[in-house]
């Protein structure tokens, strides 16, 4: 039996062996292709601080109050997610952000931000965060990551779901463009359980709330993505960004899927928290989530 230290030493020593130098012919091949390879111009930054004037801030606050007044609060501990039951299908008014922006990643100052990177969301939206939140450069907004009060919101432009959440190969299932297409794909996915969709509103638009879970009969040790740790739900085409759910939620937040229909476009937002989050932390997540305003 090897000790942990011995295994680490063996692995580190072994890693030092092997090729390092990149052959000149490979470098030459790269440089030969550069003149014929156009550089892609950047999109708007995924997170932009909206330098809204006071009137707009007031309008935003009024809109948030209106939404809360229309739909009421639905706190997380009972519902297992943020969002509220549908009481009105009409969209809420949403203020237009100022055209003056600056990129925002890393720790966020309290304020209102817009997410409009098309790789993250099909419909731009704003949301307002208090202090302590961070924007990761993969588009995820978090607070207290890795801590008991871990809160998280993820925008998603979902293009590929896995046919089998525990499949041995990526096996993407094709999905159509509508909200119902995604809901059906999640319900039909092998190797995962999708809760019965609950109709809610998000940002004033009709949405469905779904909780994905690992079936009790599933043997997670056989799952390709991270055996005994995670099962795969969806990913981008390159499989460089995933939504995977943990077998055990002790160390990761329990994320809820919101599939929103915004004027015929499908927007997807995940939101959730660790089971250990306090009621006040969950209320903060609820407030941030309620501040979402789509900009179709």
């Amino acid at each position: 039996m090897q000790t942990d230290r011995e295994v680490t030493r063996i692995v580190r020593s072994w890693m030092e062996e092997g090729a390092t130098a990149l052959p000149d012919r490979v470098l030459d091949a790269v440089l030969d292709q550069v003149p014929a390879t156009s550089q892609r111009r950047s999109w708007w930054p995924s997170w932009r601080f909206t330098d809204m004037n006071n009137l707009l801030k007031l309008a935003m606050g009024a809109a948030a109050v209106l939404v809360v007044a229309l739909v009421g609060y639905n706190l997380l501990p009972r519902s297992g997610g943020v969002g509220a039951p549908v009481q009105t299908p009409s969209p809420s008014p949403s203020p237009s952000p100022s055209p003056s922006f600056e990129a925002a990643t890393g720790p966020l100052q309290p304020g209102t931000y817009i997410v409009d990177d098309p790789t993250l969301t099909t419909v731009p939206f704003t949301l307002t965060v208090p202090s302590g939140w961070t924007a990761r450069d993969d588009g995820v907004i978090v607070k207290a990551e890795d801590q008991p009060a871990w809160l998280e919101i993820q925008p998603w432009n979902v293009t590929h779901t896995y046919a089998d959440a525990c499949g041995a190969e990526p096996g993407f299932a094709e999905i159509g463009p509508t909200a119902d297409d995604l809901v059906r794909a999640l319900e039909d996915q092998e190797g995962s359980d999708a809760s019965t969709p609950v109709e809610v509103t998000v940002g004033g638009y009709p949405a469905k709330r779904i909780v994905m879970s690992v079936p009790v009969e599933q043997d997670p040790s056989t799952c390709r993505f991270a055996p005994n740790e995670l099962i795969q739900i969806w990913a981008n085409a390159e499989e460089t960004r995933w939504f995977a759910i943990p077998v055990d939620h002790a160390s990761l937040p329990r994320l809820v899927v919101y599939v929103v229909e915004v004027d015929g476009e499908r927007a997807v937002i995940l939101a959730g928290h660790k089971d250990s989050a306090s009621p006040s932390a969950i209320a903060e997540l609820q407030t941030v989530f309620d501040s979402i305003a789509f900009q179709p």
Binding site: M1, Q2, D4, V7, T8, I10, V11, R12, W14, M15, E16, E17, G18, A19, T20, A21, L22, P23, V26, L27, A29, V30, L31, Q33, V34, P35, T37, S38, Q39, R40, R41, S42, P45, A103, T105, R136, D137, D138, V142, E145, D146, E169, P170, R224, F225, A226, P227, N228, E229, L230, E238, E239, T240, R241, S251, L252
Partner: protein, 180 residues
Amino acid sequence: MDPELVRRVQHGDEEAFASLAVAVGDRLHAVAHRILRDTDLAEDATQQALLTIWRDIHQLRDPARFDAWSYRLLVRACYAEGRRIRRWSPNLRLLPTDVPAPNELDLVVDRDQLERAFRRLSINHRAVVVLHHYLDLSLEDVADTLGVPPGTVRSRLHHAMRGLRAALDADARPIAREVS
């Protein structure tokens, strides 16, 4: 990496990119080779990562974060090459055997054993092991590089090292052998 050099590349300076590619090529190739364990695939992944750096460098908002960003692109290229591995690798499986263990194997850790154990890991898990144990990145930096939560990195590293350890232990007591 010199942020000024990165900025020049962002302005479309091909000579600056050549300098940058020379500066990072060996390092990227070394990492790719350790993740993929295959010379041809590692060269392809490095080539693809360098071209992606040129093409997408405008997506890098902070030039000071070039190293982490370039590793992320490289790991992404390794995933793509890893899928080729799965398509072309022979189907390996483990079968029990009654062949007794030679005594000397009880004490000798052979690099081939580690190689086989490492190849059984997914690319996701290999990348975490290489970034942490070869590049000496902290787990937080690995998470930042891969764009996943630190908890996921810890989980993957734990799983990978557990797998390597189990394989090393098992290979030191060869109650099984690989057959194609």
